[in-house]
Symmetry: C2
Subunit: 147 residues, 2 copies
Amino acid sequence: MINSSKIETTPACICLRFRKAARRVSQIYDQHLEPYGITITQYGLLGHISRFEGIGVGALAEKLVMDPTTLTRNLRPLERKGFVLMSPDEKDRRSRNLSLTTSGREALAAARPGWDAAQEKIGNVLGSDTNKLMIDTIDQMIEDLRE
Amino acid sequence: MINSSKIETTPACICLRFRKAARRVSQIYDQHLEPYGITITQYGLLGHISRFEGIGVGALAEKLVMDPTTLTRNLRPLERKGFVLMSPDEKDRRSRNLSLTTSGREALAAARPGWDAAQEKIGNVLGSDTNKLMIDTIDQMIEDLRE
DNA sequence: TGAAATTAGATGCATATGCAGATAAATAGT
DNA sequence: ACTATTTATCTGCATATGCATCTAATTTCA
C-alpha cells in the first residue's frame, strides 16, 4: 500500500521554482546593473514609467502584478535619486501621475548596456525559442490568474 | 533608418517576467496557506528540512538558490514558532544542523491541503504538460547558471 | 606547532513584498 | 446639499532578499 504522507511535495512545487528562478535571474541582472547604480527592480520601474508617462500608482501596480503599497515604497529610492516625479493629478487630487526627470531618462539609457548583457546571458542559457516560450507562458498564466 | 533608442526593453525582459510570476504565484500559495498560519516560503523551508534532516544552513541555502544570510533570517520565524531547531554540529561547531520539531512536522502536515489546493489551481491554469515543462526548464536554467 | 587562509554563520544596512488599517478625495444615493 | 460609499494612496508591521562585514572555528602549510 502507498503511504501518501511520504510523498514529497516540495520537489514538485511550481511556486518554489518561480521564486528560485526570480532570485537567480535577479541576481544576474543586479550584478550587470550594479556599475550603473540601479537594480533590476528600479530599471523596470524606469522603463515602465518611460513607456506610460503620467500613469498613476495603482494602474502601474496592476501592470507590474504588484501590490500598490509595494510600488509606493519601491518608488521612494527613485524619487530620492531624482529620477522620478510624482505629481498630483489635476482632475483627481488623490491620484499621482508618475513621470521621469531628465536624469531619470539618462539613468535608464545609461544602464541599457548592463541590461542588454544580462538579457543576452539568460537568452544564451535558455535559447531563443525557450526564452520566448517562457515569456509567453508566463504572460498567459498571469492573464489567466487575473481576477 | 531605425532609431534603436526607441526600442522598448522592459516588454522583452525575462527577469521581470520571472519576478511577476513569483509575485503572483506566491500570492496564491500564501492565500491558500494563510489559514494554517504559514507562508509558502516557510512551507518550503519546512519541507526541505524534512527531506534533508540535519542539513546545514549553507548547504540548504545552495539547494534553495538563496543567499545564506537570507536563509538565516528566514529561519528565525520558524525557530520562534518552535518548528525548527538549529543545533551546533558536533564535528564542526561553526556549522548548525537543521531539524524539525514535532510541532514543525505537524505544522507541515497540517498545511498540506492548502499547498495541494494552490498547486492544483496553478496546475489547472498551466495544464500538466506546460507545468512540467516550466519546472524542467527552470531547473535546467538554474543548473546552467551555477558557478 | 603556530600563523595565515579559508569556511560557517550572524549582523548592519538598504531594498522588496504584501496585509491591515488610516487618510483624504471623489462619487453615489437620498 | 448631505451623508454614505467607494477609490487612490500612504503608514505600520512583519517577512523576504542580498551585499559588505564581522566573529568564531577549522584547515593549510611552512
